[in-house]
């Protein structure tokens, strides 16, 4: 994975955990379950990631350990610095340029450059594959009746797949005129 991208993903986990802790103290396992529920299970976390992130956040003064619960699990609570960091995150828009390079865009550009590749066929195959993805996402959305957070995450993926589909239609139309 692109290093800067990995860094950004790490940052989002950290802020996501802060947002969940702002509701009240939680232990690691609970945070993992709630994180996955809010993101529609589209972003699975392992428990190791959760505890590594929590200990770094503790080092940075964003969270602190409270008492253990009845099962001996350590409960974490957000600090004032943590709340300030969360507020800063929510008030800062996300930059578009942080996305990793898109393999599909490169593939199509290269298919056009390579001359002997049947670009229209490449587009059609991709479009059918993307449509299957879109169908799966739509089924998942219909099934996700509880939780607006979950549905909105799926909606975001639907909009992205739709944008790709529209771009493929556009490519086909442009290439048709070029020929």
């Amino acid at each position: 994975m692109h290093t800067a991208y990995a860094y950004l993903v790490g940052m989002s986990i950290r802020h996501g955990l802060l947002a969940l802790l702002s509701v009240g103290p939680r232990h690691g396992y609970q945070l993992r379950v709630e994180f996955e529920a809010s993101t529609g299970a589209t972003w699975p976390l392992n428990i190791g990631q959760v505890y590594t992130t929590l200990s770094r956040m503790e080092r940075d003064g964003l969270v602190e350990q409270g008492e253990s619960d009845e099962h001996g699990r350590v409960v974490y609570a957000i600090t004032a610095a943590g709340r300030a960091e969360m507020a800063r995150w929510f008030s800062t828009p996300v930059a578009q340029s942080d996305r990793p390079r898109d393999e599909l865009v490169i593939k199509l550009a290269m298919a056009v450059a390579a001359k002997e590749v049947d670009v229209v066929e490449v587009i059609r195959r991709q479009r059918t594959a993307t449509m299957r993805t879109l169908q799966q996402l739509t089924r998942a959305k219909r099934a996700a009746m509880e939780g607006a957070a979950q549905r909105l995450v799926l909606d975001s993926m639907i909009f992205q797949a739709e944008a790709e589909q529209r771009w493929l239609d556009h490519c086909e139309a442009v290439l048709k005129e070029e020929r």
Binding site: R124, M131, L134, Q135, R142, E162
Partner: protein, 230 residues
């Protein structure tokens, strides 16, 4: 068992050098409980296909069967259309001088059903679509999404099991558009066959099977059969 079946259907407008081949030998079946979406660029033949499937236009060659009947041999096509097929279009939907309930009753009354029974049937289908409270409103007293839902109710009243929808989400915002697809999907799950034409991928994705049309031919299909979709 299929509700509608098109076999090697072609449609040519005009003759000789100026002939336009709108459809070039398309075969397609829709089963009960199945939602099939036709998608493709403008001028690819989507609406021609839908009009042929519903008996609103006749093919130059090939055959169209609805409920097992070859449309070429049906004497009273208008009656068959009225009884078996429901249509939903982007606009030209409702008659503005009639209430929602009266609009839904209309095809049944044209079929000779008594007004009282037609109203009962209309109220049943309106209630199924959460529109009972709006039954006595006129179209211009309804939102765009509500109007389209009334149009779908009208398309489904009676025993019609084939629903043809041409860009039914037209000018609606995506959330309202999703609601329309939710409704079409629910009707499918209740046993109707739906053929949906849309140029929007997000709505096509609600279908069991998405068929891509280009220059009058089917170029591809997601081929999600009914069995594997369940």
């Amino acid at each position: 068992m299929t509700v509608v079946r098109l076999t090697e259907v072609a449609r040519v407008h005009g003759e000789g050098a100026t002939a336009v081949h709108a459809l070039k030998g398309v075969s397609l079946e829709v089963a009960p409980g199945e939602l099939v979406a036709i998608t493709g660029p403008s001028g690819s033949g989507k609406s021609t296909l839908l009009n042929l499937a519903g008996g609103l236009d006749r093919p130059t060659s090939g055959t169209v069967h609805i409920d097992g009947r070859d449309l070429a041999t049906v004497r009273d096509l208008a009656a068959l259309r009225r009884r078996s097929v429901g249509y939903v279009f982007q606009d030209l939907n409702l008659i503005t001088s009639l209430t929602a309930a009266e609009n839904v009753m209309l095809p049944r009354e044209l079929d000779g059903v008594r007004s009282r029974l037609a109203r009962e049937e209309a109220m049943t289908v309106l209630a199924e679509m959460d529109l009972a409270d709006l039954a006595d409103r006129f179209p211009d007293e309804l939102s765009g999404g509500q109007r389209q839902r009334v149009a779908i109710a009208r398309a489904l009243v009676g025993e019609r099991r084939l629903l043809l929808a041409d860009e039914p989400t037209g000018a609606l915002d995506t959330h309202t558009g999703d609601e329309i697809l939710h409704l079409l999907r629910a009707r499918c799950d209740a046993g109707a066959a739906v053929l949906l034409v849309t140029h929007e991928p997000r709505y096509a994705a609600w279908a069991d099977r998405v068929v891509f049309l280009c220059d009058g031919s089917i170029t591809d299909s997601t081929d999600m059969s009914l069995e594997s979709a369940r």
